[in-house]
Symmetry: C2
Subunit: 284 residues, 2 copies
């Protein structure tokens, strides 16, 4: 049976990244009775991989995921090779940290060295994503590190991820075989009329539902990237989507991931964690 | 056969709404050799319906559409009745103006009197949209005014339109029968992995592809509503999508609709129209 809800709460370290470095986040989670964490690579690098792993373990925390690999499309083979090599390092780090999966933000349209979009060929970018995940799987699968495709909201199709629906992610998983699954983030998929059926489709495959991310869609939303809301402050019917995840057999973490430049990133991080705990209990 | 491209250009009046009232827009279009226009209700109301119709006709322009009806969901039956009545008036105006279709922005989650979202029940909102269009069809169909459902980008699901994919719009058209079709706006649908197949599906039904709207997706996009780009300044492969529309049998207008608070709405509107003409020719 399900654990009590409080056992399911995980904090994605982006939620308090503006205030705290990783060691402070680890200590903060422990202080608030939060048992799981999902760190970002840059924060782990800032603390050092070995020390990060030790601090997390010593605090009695486990990972709900590792953020993030991906960004496969590139203008040339050299760029795609560099992305693959970097993704292999991310797999190694995820293994060292004991992560249950490496989350993939797959990348959007390829960019030139100046950072500008170099091609409008979305179909080709999607093929590079498929091929990149396929190559990475040859490394991750034997190592036992599941890859979690995170479909991102369509407003990120150009710059961050050209996989924008659960259906597309399920299609990729069907094509690529074992070792790859999906990270479901309510912020990215709540609008999708196929959401319930695609969660059920994913749940029918052993090990495909790898992560469940929580925040909320604010009305109005004032920034495309950094104006996510705390659960309960927006318009997403989180209990409904959670019920679909539960019904599809998902028993993993509820990971709170909030990018919020003008609100939550400006608050006392201990207050942020306290609100995460309270809202996870009362809203989700 | 197709007309020369320049004959297909239409200006949605939102594109220069910050600078000009409707009579100036009509005169400007005529001056730039633009033969089609798609006015918004508030601009028509500002000039008066009869005078608007006369000025458009006297300038030798025809409409490519009329913006807009919709906004069907409401918290109670009284609100839904008011929306239906307002939509009937929009049909009447569209008939007076000789519009080939009334564009529907169908509405999002219902709001309370204070303007705040009153319900997170997206499925119910979608049912209200279906029912609202169905009721409006009983008025519009015998009057001979086609209704054009415009799927809006998923980032508008809460506030403006809870129909966010071509597939959903096609499903609604299949269910509701004759007299209703789709307005395809590249800004809203360019990211959709099903876009080509859903345009083909729509094209297979006589009279379903009712409008084709153009602008571009900027990288970065700095505002969810008012930062649309001129064709060619963003990342949408407009010629590709146009080829799909052409292939599906669409022979109607190419309507330029740009909301741009910090760029195009601040420029000399004659320059804006000149750029629209040039880009439509060189990019689309």
């Amino acid at each position: 049976m399900n654990s009590p809800d409080s056992e399911l709460l995980s904090i994605n370290t982006a939620t308090v990244r503006a205030q705290w470095k990783l060691p402070e986040i680890v200590a903060g989670c422990a202080r608030h009775g939060i048992r799981m964490i999902s760190p970002w690579r840059d924060q782990v690098a800032g603390t050092g991989l070995k020390e990060s792993a030790e601090r997390i373990r010593d605090a009695g925390l486990v990972l709900s995921g590792y953020c993030r690999g991906g960004m496969f499309p590139a203008v040339d083979a050299k760029g795609r090779r560099a992305a693959l090599d970097d993704n292999k390092r991310a797999v190694d780090e995820a293994l060292t940290l004991g992560a249950p999966c490496l989350v993939l933000v797959v990348g959007g349209l390829p960019t030139a060295e100046n950072g500008r979009v170099a091609s409008k060929d979305l179909l080709s970018a999607r093929q590079m994503v498929r091929d990149g995940i396929g190559e990475l799987l040859e490394y991750a699968r034997p190592a036992g590190m599941p890859l979690a495709i995170e479909p991102l909201h369509p407003m990120y199709a150009a710059e961050r991820a050209c996989v924008n629906t659960m259906a597309h992610a399920n299609d990729l998983c069907d094509e690529l075989g074992s070792g790859v699954g999906i990270a479901v983030d309510v912020y990215h998929v709540w609008w999708d009329p196929q959401l319930r059926q695609q969660i059920e489709r994913a749940g029918a495959q052993q090990g495909r539902l790898l992560a469940f991310h929580l925040c909320d869609w604010l009305v109005p939303t004032t920034d495309l990237l950094l104006d996510r809301g705390m659960m309960g402050d927006g318009v997403i019917d989180i209990p409904l989507i959670r019920s679909w995840m539960d019904g599809a057999g998902y028993r993993g973490a509820h990971e709170v991931e909030i990018f919020s430049a003008n609100n939550w990133w400006k608050r006392d991080p201990d207050d942020v964690l306290a609100v995460c705990v309270e809202r996870h209990c009362s809203v989700c």
